[in-house]
């Protein structure tokens, strides 16, 4: 896939399931190994949940623009919101040894993705870019059949 696939959803949690289905279908279509797909789905879902919760403060009718590309084994997701900006230095996962509710979403993203960048260099909102090198994770390179 060298094309970019774009999806825009309202900032309503009820559309998270739809987003997950799109990511799952996209990665399945493009031969990504089935073990890694749920992890990538989780990252996109967590990123969108964070936008709904923190950037838009739960307001359900704001846009979340998501674009996906898978080129030469690199999966890239860009997620744009127009809500409250925050200092990327403040976006920290909680220490994993602390057993308490909350703060795991960012931890999952950082743990699973190879590269995570938050760009607030714009008038409104944030552009989150997440990348994962899937070389070796494509079923065809592992001799698997779909």
């Amino acid at each position: 896939m060298t094309e970019t696939v774009k999806l825009t959803i309202p900032s309503d949690p009820k559309y998270l399931g739809l987003t997950r289905k799109v990511v799952f279908h996209l990665l399945t279509c493009h031969d990504v190994a089935k073990e890694i797909i749920p992890r990538l789905v989780l990252c996109v879902d967590e990123a969108c949940s964070n936008i709904i919760k923190y950037s838009y403060n739960g307001c359900p009718d704001q846009p979340i623009e998501i674009s996906f590309s898978l080129d030469q084994g690199f999966f890239e997701v860009k997620i744009r919101d127009y809500g409250k900006q925050c200092d990327s230095r403040d976006i920290k996962p909680r220490p994993i040894h602390e057993i308490k509710p909350g703060g795991l979403g960012t931890y999952f993203i950082n743990e699973i993705m190879d590269e995570v960048k938050y760009c607030t260099n714009r008038d409104q909102g944030t552009l989150l870019t997440m990348c994962k090198n899937l070389k070796g994770e494509l079923a065809s390179t592992r001799g698997e059949t779909r």
Partner: protein, 113 residues
């Protein structure tokens, strides 16, 4: 995304809760409310059957962590059973598989409570 919950009360104060569906930001509050009701009834033990949960996110994990903390505070049991591969993987990434009491079957989870 709808979520289903089925509760089975036994005579000895043990409750088995079967959750069906995806546990995400839109449904974790429903699960939390349901669990809180069970906590308020001061059950001896709650066994959560996750065999019908194909997806869980950090809000779902947080809800289950709250359940665990409640059980510690009240000296009761809070056990998880039959984790699907996706759910198990998320628990592994979060390094929570050894924090919770996790069982492969409801029968094993019900032993010794």
């Amino acid at each position: 995304m709808s979520i289903g919950m089925q509760t089975n009360h036994s005579d000895n104060g043990v409750v088995t809760l079967l959750i069906e569906g995806d546990i995400d930001m839109s449904s974790s509050t429903v699960v939390r409310t349901h669990l809180t009701d069970l906590f308020d009834k001061n059950q001896k033990a709650i066994v959560v059957d996750l065999s019908k949960v194909s997806y869980i996110d950090s809000s779902g994990i947080a809800t289950l962590v709250e359940g665990l903390q409640w059980s510690h505070a009240n000296n009761t049991k809070f056990r998880l059973t039959r984790l699907t591969p996706m759910v198990k993987d998320v628990f592994e990434i979060a390094r929570l598989l050894t924090v919770f009491e996790v069982f492969d079957s409801n029968e094993e989870a019900l032993e010794g409570v």
